[in-house]
Every structure is written in structure tokens, then in C-alpha cells.
């Protein structure tokens, strides 16, 4: 018994000793987290000896805020959307990193010229450009599948259930584009009460056919299970399901909504210095280029783009699957963080009310 006690005590001590070197990175789970583990975490551990613990979340941004408000921060690095990065930074909940701290690109370009415009803020560094688009199961539409965002909302022409993310963001934009609003006018329209009504009315037209997903990995799962015939998703998830898992899925880029995903370090992170080192490492030219071997998200550095080649199967060209591919950008909308920072409370309330109404 005594021996056991000593042993367990020693083990606990060992556990603490190990955790002092570990950093915790919270991200979106599934194929996306896997790409980060392969491209960032493993090489980082190999280089520095610091272990990286990966935690999955439906949306890490609000989780950072919850921890900050509760005064109990356990996250070292979080992968958040632009509006969350801006808001958390404004509220003083993030460590500042800044452009000057970031290394130049592999080709020697200074960081400020190498990163895509707006992809580095005071507190956050972008890793990727991702998109919310939609995909469908080709076996459900043998006579030709949908091609436009309007088709997604047309259950007469393309019958079957639809998967949608359970939040207003991206859904409202897509609804307006499907209703004929040009991408350039979407946020102007959504800024008016009539525009919001119009978006909800469009969503209403397919409400009874919607199956909601919350975690990013659920969307391709719904499609694979045959629960829906088409679903919106983060484009990399659809890519991984189709290419890596060989599912008969096809993506539609018309009406896609793209934005940056960024790494942030919460204020008071338990291992702040290691966390900032990690962010610098993960957003270096090579790491970003490596990630694109695992998932179809565009790197935030220009110098990485040249290094992006084929998927890790060695034969699939990544280019056509990237949100920023010119072919895919014909009718695309850049998500507006200014809009969502201001209106998310109000539109979430409206969205919840709309969901609960019969």
C-alpha cells in the first residue's frame, strides 16, 4: 500500500513536471485539427521538445472569453474566427503578438508584405483562408447536381434534406445571395431590418427540411450517413471527406463565404512564451504550406502559396480545392467581421427565436 502511494505520488509529480512543458491548443476538431497536428504540432514538438495538447471545440472564440471572464485560463493558443479575434482583442483578453514579432517568409519577404492584407492584427495571426460553401452527394442527383447557391434553397428542383450550421453567420449571407442579392450588397442589405427579414424568409422556405449541425465535423458526417442530400460545411471538411475518405461528394463554390482563421494567445495563458513561439512557428512559410497538404485551406502567407503542391496522397492537385482559386471566386463573399462584431447579439437572438418558433 505504502509503495503504491509513493508510486502514485511520484507519478503525479511526473505529471506536473510534464505539464509545465506542455501547451494547450484549442481548435475546431476533425480533419482540420488533424491537419494542424501534422503540419504544426508534430514539427514544433520535434524542434523545441514542447508537447502540444490538442483540444477540440465547436467554436474556440467564445470559449476563450468564458475562461477570461471566469478568471481561469487554461488555453495557451486558440484558433478563432476574425470577428472573435477582433472583439477579444478590443476587450483586452488577448496577448499582443504584432507583425514585428513574426519571422519573414522563406523567400526573405518581410512579414508585413508576406501576409495577405488584414490577416495579422495586433493580437492575432491568420493561418488560413477557409470558406463556408456547400457540398452534395452525387449519387442522390444522377441527372446532374446543383450548381448555384439558389439551387441549395430549391427543394423542388433538388429534393432532399439540407444540412446547415446552427448559427446565423454565413447562413444569412447565403440566403440573401440565393435570393438574388449580389455578393457586394449582402452586408448593406443585412444591415437593414428588411434585409434581415428577407434572409429569414428565404431560410424559412426550407426550414422543415433543415438538419442542423454544430461541430464542423458533423456536416460531412450528415452527408455520409445519407441524412441530408446537401449541406453547407467548411470547405476543407468536404475536401477531406471526398478526397481522403473517397466519398462521392462534390462542392459548389457559388455563393461561398470565405474568411480568415487566426491563432490568438489568451491573456494570462499558462505558458505564454511557449504559446507565442508556437504561433510564430505555425505561421511560418513552411508550416502553412505543409498544412495545405492535409486540408484544402489557403495559407495566409503569399510565400507559402508557391510551396503548396499536392495532397498527401501524392496525386491530387490542391489548387482547384482552395477557396481563393479564381474559378471558385466568381461569386464569393468575404465575411465581414465589422458586421458580425456589431450584430451578432441581435441576430443570434433573432435566429434562436426563429429556430424555436414552430
Amino acid at each position: 500500500m505504502k509503495k503504491l502511494l509513493i508510486l502514485t505520488t511520484a507519478l503525479t509529480g511526473f505529471g506536473f513536471a510534464a505539464s509545465a512543458e506542455d501547451i494547450t491548443v484549442v481548435s475546431w476538431g476533425g480533419a482540420y485539427t488533424k491537419s494542424q497536428v501534422e503540419a504544426y504540432h508534430k514539427p514544433f514538438t520535434a524542434k523545441t521538445g514542447i508537447n502540444v495538447t490538442s483540444v477540440d471545440s465547436d467554436n474556440p472564440g467564445p470559449q476563450v472569453k468564458t475562461q477570461e471572464e471566469a478568471g481561469n485560463v487554461t488555453i495557451d493558443v486558440a484558433d478563432v474566427e476574425y470577428s472573435d479575434a477582433v472583439r477579444l482583442c478590443d476587450e483586452g483578453m488577448l496577448e499582443t503578438i504584432g507583425m514585428d514579432a513574426l519571422p519573414p517568409g522563406a523567400d526573405g519577404t518581410p512579414a508585413k508584405d508576406d501576409f495577405l492584407p488584414g490577416s495579422v492584427t495586433d493580437c492575432a495571426v491568420a493561418t488560413i483562408v477557409f470558406s463556408t460553401n456547400y457540398g452534395y452527394d452525387t449519387t442522390k442527383f444522377p441527372n446532374g447536381g446543383p450548381t448555384t447557391i439558389a439551387d441549395f434553397f430549391d427543394t423542388k428542383k433538388f429534393p432532399g434534406k439540407r444540412g446547415l450550421g446552427k448559427r446565423p453567420k454565413a447562413n444569412l449571407e447565403m440566403a440573401l445571395m440565393a435570393d438574388g442579392v449580389p455578393a457586394a450588397d449582402v452586408y448593406k442589405t443585412l444591415g437593414t431590418p428588411e434585409g434581415v427579414d428577407r434572409a429569414f424568409k428565404k431560410l424559412d422556405s426550407i426550414k422543415k427540411d433543415i438538419v442542423w449541425w454544430e461541430a464542423g465535423a458533423q456536416a460531412p458526417q450528415l452527408l455520409a450517413d445519407g441524412e441530408v442530400s446537401m449541406t453547407t460545411a467548411y470547405n476543407g471538411r468536404l475536401f477531406s471527406a471526398a478526397i481522403a475518405d473517397g466519398k462521392p461528394f462534390k462542392q459548389v463554390w457559388d455563393g461561398q463565404v470565405y474568411e480568415y482563421d487566426l491563432f490568438v494567445v489568451p491573456k494570462g495563458a499558462p505558458h505564454k512564451d511557449a504559446a507565442i513561439e508556437f504561433v510564430k512557428f505555425a505561421t511560418s512559410t513552411q508550416a502553412l504550406a505543409d498544412q495545405a497538404k492535409w486540408i484544402a485551406y489557403g495559407p495566409a502567407r503569399k510565400s507559402s502559396a508557391a510551396l503548396v503542391g499536392k495532397f498527401n496522397d501524392g496525386k491530387t492537385d490542391m489548387g482547384p480545392y482552395m477557396p481563393t482559386n479564381p474559378e471558385n471566386m466568381k461569386n464569393a463573399l468575404g465575411s465581414s467581421y465589422e458586421f458580425w462584431v456589431d450584430h451578432d447579439a441581435e441576430l443570434n437572438d433573432r435566429f434562436n427565436a426563429w429556430l424555436a418558433a414552430n
Binding site: 467564445p62 471572464e69 476587450e91 447579439a345
Partner: protein
């Protein structure tokens, strides 16, 4: 012997017996208290204290008042309806500058944004420019954004400047204050909470009723079977009870979904066509089925515990005296099981009112309950005051039900096993 001794019993060492007894009892009481003290402290720290904090959070939100002290005193010294003058704007800019310095200007903006949507960026934008603002402040602030001159904004700032507010409770029952401060219902397309509270209670009552109907015969069977067989059956009740909630919920997803086991079997048997697959999940039906299954043991166990000790001779006696089997059940057996029914229904109802994971996974949009929105406000929108207000209403509603139960049935009749 003295007179005093005669009137008072003493112990062997000459002390009055009364005192010695009191002392001994006091010691025993203290020892008993010390024994329960760890549990008592544990409950106070982990249960009572957090609940009190939640109650406070529902009416206390100092995000504006803590960070904008100048405005708080300006509102205090100027009655409602005062036109904000240059001095007011100067105070506002002073506060904004200090808040920008402390990086709390966005926190202030968030608080105002709860009451007047679309104003968060008003504050963050000014926070970035605060240092460059020059007098006259009224003009320079309105030059940044004309919304700063909006009387609505000033009205809202006056409301949120009070750290103690009932506004979150109003919002939790779909009410709000209009410009004049009178209470009105929110826009029809934003009403959600009353509807969800009603749905939560209605569905919980329905689930409780199904549980009772299903559990009563099962518990009876368990109670009357010989011990060997009833133990075997009991394991079938307890096994799912011991299985993780998540595992059971996800198993129901596998069974109920459109391409799931049940639909596939029905299609294979030709009962339904491939196009007419039943929608049994992501709606109210999914929540009802999964929750009934998960909560069933909470009904069976209390029923079983009161049915087991009921001697079968009572019903036999009733029958031998000429009662029909229905009368014997109604007049003799059933009344003896009422304490179990009370315990089971109360348990299942209270558990289902607060249920969260199962409706989140299988409820879709029509099968979600109020606790899902509480979770939303805690984890996603970070509006903890709103979550606290909703949780408080739920807690009070349950306490009222408990009180009603005590009045109607009597809490001393409760028998949990």
C-alpha cells in the same frame, strides 16, 4: 444533607445532574456537528454559494458602471429627459479615454449592445480614436459617428449605468423597456423564451407521463416475481442506467435517423416506402423517445421500492371479500403505491426540465429545451446575466412545483427507496 441537596440530583462527583447532562449532550451535539461539518461545508461551497452567485449575476451587471464612473454620476445628478450638454459629452469622452486606456471600452460597448443592438462598434471605434478627440466634445464625437447624438443611445446608457437591473429578467420573459421606460413585449419575431419555457414544461410533463405508464407494470412485475428472476430483470433495468448518457443518446441517433436501423428495417419489411422514411430524430419525437428511455429507471426504481414490501395477501383478501380485480387494484393496491408514484414523477419531471445534452443532440430545432438556450448564453454568446436570469426562473418554477406537491400530496409521503 442540606436543603439544596435534597431538591437536586447530583452526579457522583457532586455536580448537579442537570448541568452534567447538558454538558454531555452539548458535547455529543458538537461531535455530531463536527461529523456532518465536512458535508455541510462542501454543500455550502459547491452548491449554495454558486447558486447565490447565479442569483446575483441575474440582476447585477457592473460592466458599464465599473468602467464609466463619470457617466454614472452625471446620470445620477441629471434627471431623465435632460438634454446632454457639452459637459455631459466631456464626461463621456473622459470616461471613454480612460476605458480605452484600460482596454475595457469594448466591455462597455458589449453591455450597451445587449440593450441597443448595433452599438458595440460605436464604442470600440471611439476607443481607438479617443486620444485624438478635441473639445468641443459634442461636435467631435458626433463627427466620429452621428449615432452619439441619438437620444435612444443616451436613454439606454442611463438604463445600463445602474449595476443592479431587472432588465435581464424582463428579457427572459420576452419583455423589454421602450424609449419611455415602460415595459412592452419584444418584437414578435424575437420572442423565444416564454415559448421555450412552456415547451420545456409541457414536454417534461409528457415524458413523465409516458415514463409512469411504462414503468408501473415493469415495477409491478419486478416486485411480484420470485427474487431470482426479478434480480435478473433488475439487471436489465440497471444496465442502461449505468451506461453513459452520451452513449445512450448516440445509440438512439443510430437507431432513429432517416437511414438508421429502425427505418431500414421498416423499409425492408415493406411497411414504409424508401421515399417515405419516418422522421424520428432532430425533432420533438427524438427528444421524447431518447429522454423517456434515459429517465425510465428513475421511475422504475422508486416504484419498485414501494411495491416490493406490499404483501400480496392484501389484494387476495380484497378479492376473497368480493372485489373485482379492478376494484382490488384501485382501492387496495394502487393507494399503497402512491408514495412511489410521487417520488418517481417528481424525480423524472425535475430531471427532464433541466435536461440539456439529449435535446441538444437529437432535438433539432423543435425539440430543444430552455436549458439549451441557457447553455447558449453561457458558452456562445457569453451573456451570463441572461443565462443566470433564465436559470433563476427555472429554479423558482421548480421550487413552486415542489411546494405544490407538498401541499397536494405531502412531502413526507415521498419514498425514494
Amino acid at each position: 444533607m442540606t436543603a439544596v441537596d435534597a431538591g437536586m440530583l447530583t452526579t457522583a462527583d457532586g455536580r448537579p445532574l442537570k448541568d452534567a447532562l447538558a454538558r454531555a449532550e452539548g458535547r455529543a451535539k458538537r461531535r455530531a456537528f463536527l461529523l456532518v461539518a465536512p458535508l455541510l461545508i462542501f454543500i455550502l461551497v459547491t452548491f449554495v454559494w454558486p447558486i447565490l452567485q447565479v442569483l446575483e449575476q441575474s440582476v447585477y451587471n457592473p460592466k458599464f458602471s465599473d468602467n464609466m464612473p463619470g457617466m454614472v454620476s452625471w446620470f445620477a445628478s441629471h434627471p431623465v429627459g435632460t438634454e446632454p450638454d457639452e459637459a455631459a459629452y466631456a464626461t463621456l469622452v473622459g470616461d471613454l479615454k480612460a476605458a480605452a486606456e484600460a482596454k475595457t471600452v469594448a466591455v462597455v460597448g458589449e453591455r450597451v449592445n445587449y440593450a441597443l443592438p448595433g452599438t458595440r462598434s460605436l464604442f470600440t471605434a471611439v476607443g481607438r480614436k479617443a486620444k485624438t478627440l478635441e473639445p468641443p466634445f459634442k461636435e467631435s464625437l458626433i463627427a466620429v459617428d452621428p449615432k452619439w447624438g441619438d437620444p435612444d443611445l443616451w436613454g439606454v446608457m442611463r438604463q445600463v449605468a445602474k449595476p443592479y437591473t431587472g432588465d435581464f429578467f424582463l428579457a427572459a420573459v420576452d419583455l423589454e423597456r421602450d424609449k419611455n421606460g415602460s415595459i412592452v413585449r419584444v418584437n414578435e419575431n424575437e420572442r423565444v423564451y416564454v415559448n421555450l419555457f412552456l415547451r420545456t414544461f409541457a414536454m417534461s410533463a409528457f415524458i413523465t407521463a409516458i415514463c409512469l405508464v411504462l414503468a408501473y407494470p415493469v415495477a409491478h412485475l419486478l416486485a411480484v416475481l420470485p427474487l431470482r428472476q426479478s434480480n435478473l430483470l433488475m439487471i436489465l433495468v440497471l444496465l442502461p442506467f449505468w451506461t453513459s448518457l452520451l452513449v445512450r443518446t448516440t445509440s438512439w441517433m443510430v437507431l432513429l435517423q432517416e437511414q438508421g436501423v429502425i427505418n431500414n428495417i421498416l423499409v425492408a419489411l415493406g411497411i414504409i416506402s424508401d421515399d417515405g422514411r419516418l422522421q424520428m430524430i432532430n425533432n420533438r419525437m427524438g427528444t421524447t423517445i431518447a429522454m423517456t428511455h434515459i429517465l425510465l429507471p428513475f421511475m422504475i426504481l422508486p416504484l419498485y421500492s414501494v411495491m416490493r414490501p406490499i404483501p400480496p395477501s392484501y389484494v387476495r383478501a380484497a378479492r376473497s371479500l368480493g372485489a373485482t380485480s379492478w376494484t382490488a387494484f384501485r382501492r387496495v393496491y394502487f393507494p399503497q403505491t402512491v408514495p412511489g408514484i410521487g417520488a418517481g414523477t417528481l424525480l423524472v419531471f425535475i430531471l427532464s426540465v433541466g435536461y440539456y445534452i439529449t435535446p441538444a443532440l437529437v432535438g433539432g430545432s423543435s425539440g430543444t429545451l430552455i436549458s439549451n438556450l441557457i447553455a447558449f448564453h453561457v458558452n456562445k454568446s457569453n451573456n451570463w446575466s441572461m443565462a443566470a436570469a433564465l436559470a433563476t426562473i427555472l429554479l423558482v418554477a421548480i421550487l413552486i412545483l415542489y411546494w405544490l406537491y407538498d401541499k397536494l400530496v405531502g412531502i413526507d409521503k415521498l419514498k425514494l427507496g
